[in-house]
């Protein structure tokens, strides 16, 4: 029996029963520039009465800040598809994202020291 909230679109062995780009209506590029490392979080706002299953699932995965990679992995959807879903959610105000720097500054000593400190605490 399929219970509400069941992932009836997933099958452990077969994987997804719906072809990935079907959930984006065939769109392959997001309106927003997101990469695997972009962080997203649900705003608790925005109109999402007309969102569909996959969008709502993506939204539910952003209640805490998460990366696009995490949302993609938990949705079991390719990153490109996830980016389209998330950028739809940003467009409707349900999710926000931070402007990602193009590349981290490897000469940012403050950042590196924070990383080192955080990692050493875990040793």
């Amino acid at each position: 029996m399929i219970m509400p909230g069941d992932d009836s679109w997933l099958d452990g062995d077969a994987g997804r029963l719906v072809r990935p780009y079907a959930v984006t209506n065939g769109r392959t590029s997001a309106s927003l520039k997101l990469d695997l490392m972009s962080m997203v979080v649900a705003t608790g706002e925005g109109f999402h009465g007309n969102l569909e299953h996959d969008h709502l699932q993506a939204l539910a995965l952003c209640t805490r800040p998460a990366s696009v990679a995490e949302v993609s992995a938990r949705l079991r959807l390719p990153a490109a598809v996830t980016k389209v879903l998330l950028s739809d959610l940003v467009d409707c105000g349900a999710v926000r994202t931070a402007v990602q720097e193009s590349a981290p500054d490897t000469s940012n000593r403050v950042l590196l020291e924070r990383l080192l400190d955080g990692l050493q605490r875990r040793l």
Binding site: D35, M39, A69, S72, S107, L112, L115, L123
Partner: protein, 200 residues
């Protein structure tokens, strides 16, 4: 559904390190040892030999490949999250490394001394892209023990590249490799200078 109203909170900063090495060398084990979550897998669909994405005429000649990456997460503080991405092990996915390494602060190249040559392509790749890396020898049981300097010589590594020994299954051991990597990155940055250097 309840959503956090975090509209005033800045989103955490995410930084990326890459874990590379040959197939079966223990990249996912390494990531799992330090990650606070079970390693996750994300997939990217790659179109090869595309004749134009929207050109239906080109469909016959278009093949798509799904490349999977494993990754883990370490929330260092509420404002700083470290992600570790494993490169796809097979050499035929080398073309993905550029994309995966884009934005990475540095890399760990995991080595199995029984199959040393499997890591050559990773070492070459990071050297050619100017991405700083450490070599971590994953000590498999039953494998002959080599001194780090022997590994360095065999891989023809530059003197400044650290070579560490580790057991990828042990959290502490894998974590200390990450510490070595960040220390290596710090060594390349001049000591603190006027604030101008760090101005956001």
């Amino acid at each position: 559904m309840a959503y956090n109203d975090a509209s005033d909170q800045p989103l955490p900063k995410s930084v990326k390190l890459v874990v590379a090495g040959g197939f079966g060398v223990g990249k996912t084990t390494f990531i799992g040892s330090v990650s606070e979550i079970e390693p996750l897998t994300t997939e990217e669909i790659i179109t090869e030999a595309s004749l134009g994405i929207d050109n239906l005429d080109g469909l016959a000649g278009k093949t798509t490949t799904t490349v999977a990456f494993d990754f883990g997460r370490i929330s260092l503080t509420s404002e700083l999250i470290l992600y570790l991405f494993g490169t796809p092990g097979q050499d035929r996915f080398c073309f993905m490394w550029d994309e995966l390494s884009y934005g990475a602060l540095g890399a760990v190249v995991l080595v199995d001394t029984r199959r040393l040559k499997d890591c050559f392509s990773a070492v070459d790749f990071f050297e050619s892209r100017g991405i700083r890396f450490v070599v971590a020898v994953n000590e498999f049981e039953g494998a002959y023990f080599y001194e780090p300097e022997e590994v360095r010589a065999a891989l023809n590594l530059k003197p400044h590249v650290p070579v560490a020994l580790c057991d990828a299954r042990q959290s502490r051991s894998a974590m200390s490799v990450l510490v070595t990597l960040i220390q290596h990155l710090l060594a390349a940055v001049p000591a603190r200078e006027p604030e101008i250097v760090h101005r956001q």
